[in-house]
């Protein structure tokens, strides 16, 4: 016992605080929302501890708990179709993405396809654009007055080529803006699949296409399936696209959950939808892990095998044209936004009627506050995640704290909108009345992005040998002082890379911002969203461009840092 006490040092205190943080801001909200899905009324667990009256009413609510809400999934048409549509959307998107990416992945991994670098570079565009901006870009292109529609009509087409406000529109956005998530793992899978088997097949006289279908592709299948599952989860959790594009009669889980809470304050309904979202996302996340377990496509160790690349002219050219045609679409979408932001007006024409910088002037005078808010909130989340992630990786790497490791990866499977609902539900009354404060917003951003930060810091932490830290302790430093003066500075590169990533994703964050941001703390993403809803398209476009440029600059810095590290 004495032993226990003497080892209760500063570090232990930090560990307790971190557990407390996750307990209050992650587990408690998720548990609460789960309970509400039974009671149908808000549950105040924290209040039940501090106040006996609340405890009394909580107990009453529990006594009336039922499976009503769960039955509603099947009896309530809206809920049922929301689940159905969401699953359908996610399945379609992942299938289309996979089929679309196979030729590109093969081209990059196994051929001498021309313009490989250009294609790879263009593939980064979708990753830096928040989906609600991409969705908006699709409106500019495919909408009633869009330039694609113009071209389509002048070629003799009737109406719109594709209605952006439809399931097809949502699929279009998600396919073209999520495909890089699948592409790179698939490239890795194609690179890894055993070349000697292919050569054997070719030696036996098989044709190229035969070899591909019966040898190359089957070998890459685990990688492909895991990519499909990843896309499924990403599409299923995406809020930005559906909230902009889903028409009134198209129910999707994320949108429906948002409406239940923001429109009707129907706690029970929001809770059950949240529970379903989390369960589905967690299930697919788990499936994906099952497929990648033991197969680390990202970092193949040792010397890469010298592979013979396919250089048949006809094949590589076709692949190159096909790949360029696909990766050019996100670029066109972004260019459309840029043009819109510079346009005086832009009707149903291929180009704007005139050009002006006045929209930028407007946002830099009247919306400066939103930009500031975004930066302050992102900085807050950055600082908080740097501190937490540094200590978490310390505990995980040095003390084998697998519980913390698990806890920090929970946010990966909780869709943003689900997490937002859980937070609102939990913190909208005393004793911790935080809904509507910047603090809760920062905490929410932090928890949501912590897994990425932890991954980054954990890598550098693993590279620091244990005896360096022991040396510091041996020289008289307490473990906490050693962590601050030795481990901290040595982890700086990992921390820098990770924190830029956090900053970027917070600026891009949609669902949490829309759900939780109070009016006086509205970040850019919320401002753009509201502008689109109000029909102020030109300022929305200008603000989007500013947002993307900020992200681009930070991304470039982050790449710089991680390159220097290597």
């Amino acid at each position: 016992m004495k032993n226990r006490l003497s080892s209760f040092n500063g570090l232990t205190l930090v560990k307790v605080l971190i557990y407390l943080f996750f307990g209050v801001f992650l587990l408690l909200p998720l548990v609460s929302v789960f309970l509400v899905s039974f009671t149908g009324q808000p549950i105040n667990l924290l209040g039940s501890i501090t106040n006996s009256n609340i405890l009394q009413s909580t107990i009453e609510k529990f006594s009336s708990a039922s499976f009503d809400n769960y039955e509603k999934i099947f009896t309530n048409k809206t809920y049922f179709s929301a689940v159905q549509n969401s699953l359908e959307l996610a399945i379609l998107v992942s299938l289309i993405v996979i089929v679309m990416c196979i030729p590109i992945a093969y081209g990059i991994a196994r051929t001498t396809m021309p313009f490989k670098r250009t294609i790879a570079a263009l593939c980064t565009i979708p990753l830096i654009v928040p989906t609600f901006i991409s969705a908006y870009a699709i409106i500019i292109m495919f909408g009633r007055a869009g330039w694609v529609t113009y071209i389509y009509n002048s070629l003799g087409g009737e109406g719109m080529l594709l209605d952006p406000y439809s399931m097809a529109g949502i699929i279009l956005v998600q396919v073209f803006f999520f495909f890089p998530y699948a592409l790179w793992p698939m490239v890795a899978a194609f690179k890894v699949s055993d070349i000697s088997l292919e050569e054997a097949s070719l030696n036996l006289g098989a044709r190229n296409w035969f070899t591909f279908i019966f040898v190359t592709f089957p070998l890459a299948i685990p990688g492909v399936i895991s990519s499909a599952l990843l896309i499924f989860t990403v599409s299923f959790s995406d809020f930005g696209t559906p909230i902009i594009l889903a028409p009134k009669d198209l129910n999707l889980l994320v949108v429906e959950a948002y409406r239940e809470i923001a429109g009707f304050f129907n706690w029970g309904g929001a809770a059950i939808l949240t529970v379903i979202m989390v369960l589905v996302a967690a299930f697919f996340f788990w499936l994906q892990h099952l497929f990648t377990k033991g197969k680390n496509y990202g970092s193949v160790s040792g010397k890469p095998k010298q592979q013979k690349l396919n250089d048949a002219k006809g094949l590589t050219r076709t692949l190159s044209v096909y790949s360029l045609a696909i990766v050019i679409i996100p670029l066109l979408a972004m260019l459309s936004i840029v043009l819109q932001s510079l346009a005086t007006t832009w009707g149903k024409n291929p180009l704007p009627n005139g050009y002006t910088l006045s929209h930028y002037q407007t946002i830099f005078t009247s919306s400066m506050g939103n930009i500031q808010n975004s930066i302050v909130l992102a900085l807050g989340a950055l600082i908080l995640s740097v501190i937490i992630a540094t200590f978490v990786s310390y505990f995980v790497v040095r003390q084998n704290s697998s519980k913390l490791d698990f806890m920090t990866s929970i946010p990966l499977v909780v869709p943003g909108i689900a997490f937002g609902i859980a937070l609102i539900q939990t913190f909208n009354t005393a004793p911790l009345h935080l809904t509507g404060t910047a603090l809760l917003l920062i905490v929410a951003y932090t928890i949501r992005r912590l897994p990425y930060m932890v991954r980054s810091t954990m890598g550098t932490m693993r590279a620091i040998k244990q005896d360096i830290e022991e040396a510091a302790v041996n020289l008289g430093a307490t473990p906490l002082t050693a962590a601050i003066t030795i481990i901290g500075p040595l982890m700086l590169p990992g921390i820098a890379a990770g924190s830029i990533l956090v900053f970027i994703t917070v600026i891009k964050e949609t669902s949490i911002s829309i759900l939780l941001a109070p009016a006086d703390w509205a970040p850019m993403s919320l401002a753009i969203f509201q502008n689109i809803l109000r029909g102020e398209y030109y300022t929305a476009a200008a603000m989007s461009v500013v947002l993307v440029i900020i992200v681009l600059i930070l991304q470039a810095i982050a790449n710089r840092i991680s390159k220097n590290q290597l």
Binding site: K2, E470, A471, T478, I484
Partner: protein, 376 residues
């Protein structure tokens, strides 16, 4: 102040007994070596003393104080790590100054802590006080590194890094200096000169030193006393000469230098000699032991080899005949592997220029001075 006493130290790692009832009594100012094969528990013993491992049972005392419950940062043991564990983001000066900074940090109030933290994080953020600077430069001069004070440790040679690690441990004036195989990362030549450097510094400062090594030559040439360990147990403690001349087990006889070990039975006493009979030999020893079954230990240099018929009559005690299997010329000595019945003996003879070396297959007569025959 600087003595170290370890009593009945036992350490278990999830079922594995790394240490079993280790007892050490190290005098103040002594240079004490822990010697043993890989995995025998040397590092674990040292880490228990430094406080990085909690003993499963047993007592550790530094000076008169029991330190079992004192955390490692308060034990005042200077440790030199096998990998040196220098702080890669600090230069030589800052590495050495670290413990002095920490000492100042611990003894100052809240407001005064900040500048110390700042200069610990980055040298440009704070000035070092004169006394610290002086002390660091002094010790750097002592290990002949004062000219490299502003270099990053990655820009130093292995031997220089080793001296930084030593200076860093010494500057805090530790009660005990712990070194875990400090020379194993150096090349042969440097190892020899560092042996002398470490021994000189230890003598100069009179600091109690515990030195871990698996190299018997290192332990024997540097230490005042050596503890030989095997599979978690201390097998024998003694001065190098005691260990060499009176090893307590065949394992030690073989680990500390080379030995010939023959099994035999004591068959009687004769003129003050014990007579031991083995498979095909009869040997006399001045040694007397209680038990009947014994190990006969003879060092290679204590066996003399003669061509048959050249032995003078006064050397005829303990004469054995054998055949040369291999002869190896090692410079000042010639080493023979000689087959005697079922045994293979190692024999070292001084090489005398002009004298012929016995060749393979040649018959040979061996004699052993009974005083050099050890029975255990």
């Amino acid at each position: 102040m600087g003595s170290v006493k370890v009593s009945e130290l036992t350490k278990e790692f999830s079922g594995v007994h790394a240490l079993k009832n280790v007892n050490l009594d190290i005098q103040e100012g002594e240079f004490f070596a822990l010697l043993g094969p890989s995995g025998c528990g040397k590092t674990t013993t040292m880490r228990c003393i430094a406080g990085f491992e909690q003993p499963t049972s047993g007592i550790i005392q530094i000076g008169e104080t029991k330190v079992n419950h004192i955390p490692p940062n308060k034990r005042n043991c200077g440790m030199v790590f096998q990998s040196y564990a220098l702080f890669p983001h600090m230069n030589v000066f800052e590495n050495v100054a670290y413990s002095l900074n920490i000492k100042q940090l611990n003894s100052s109030n809240m407001a005064a802590k900040l500048p110390i933290y700042l200069r610990l994080l980055n040298r440009k953020l704070g000035k070092y006080p004169k006394p610290i600077e002086q002390k660091v430069m002094e010790i750097l001069q002592y290990v002949e590194l004062d000219k490299h004070a502003t270099r990053l440790t990655s820009e130093l040679s292995g031997g220089q890094q080793q001296r930084v690690a030593l200076a860093r441990a010494l500057v805090m004036e530790p009660a005990v200096l712990l070194m875990d195989e400090p020379l194993s990362n150096l090349d042969q030549k440097l190892r020899h000169s560092m042996r002398n450097t470490i021994r000189r510094i230890q003598q100069d400062l009179g600091i109690t030193t515990i030195f871990v090594t698996h190299d018997q030559e290192e332990a024997m040439s540097m230490a005042d006393r050596v503890a030989v360990m095997d599979s978690g147990e201390v097998k024998q403690i003694g001065t190098p000469i005691e260990l060499y001349s009176r090893p307590s087990t065949p394992f030690i006889a073989n680990f500390v230098g080379t030995s010939n070990v023959l099994k035999g039975t004591v068959v009687g006493q004769e003129n003050g000699y014990s007579v031991v009979k083995g498979h095909g030999f009869l040997i006399k020893s001045t040694n007397h032991v209680e038990q009947k079954e014994v190990n006969v230990i003879v060092r290679p240099e204590n066996i003399k080899a003669f061509k048959p018929g050249t032995i003078s009559s006064d050397e005829l005690t303990n004469m054995i005949e054998g055949t040369v299997l291999v002869s190896t010329y090692l410079g000042s000595i010639v080493r023979y592997d000689i087959k005697v019945e079922e045994y293979q003996l190692v024999v070292d003879t001084t090489f005398v220029p002009g004298e012929a070396i016995l060749t393979e297959g040649e018959k040979v007569q061996l004699t052993i001075d009974p005083e050099r025959v050890l029975l255990i």
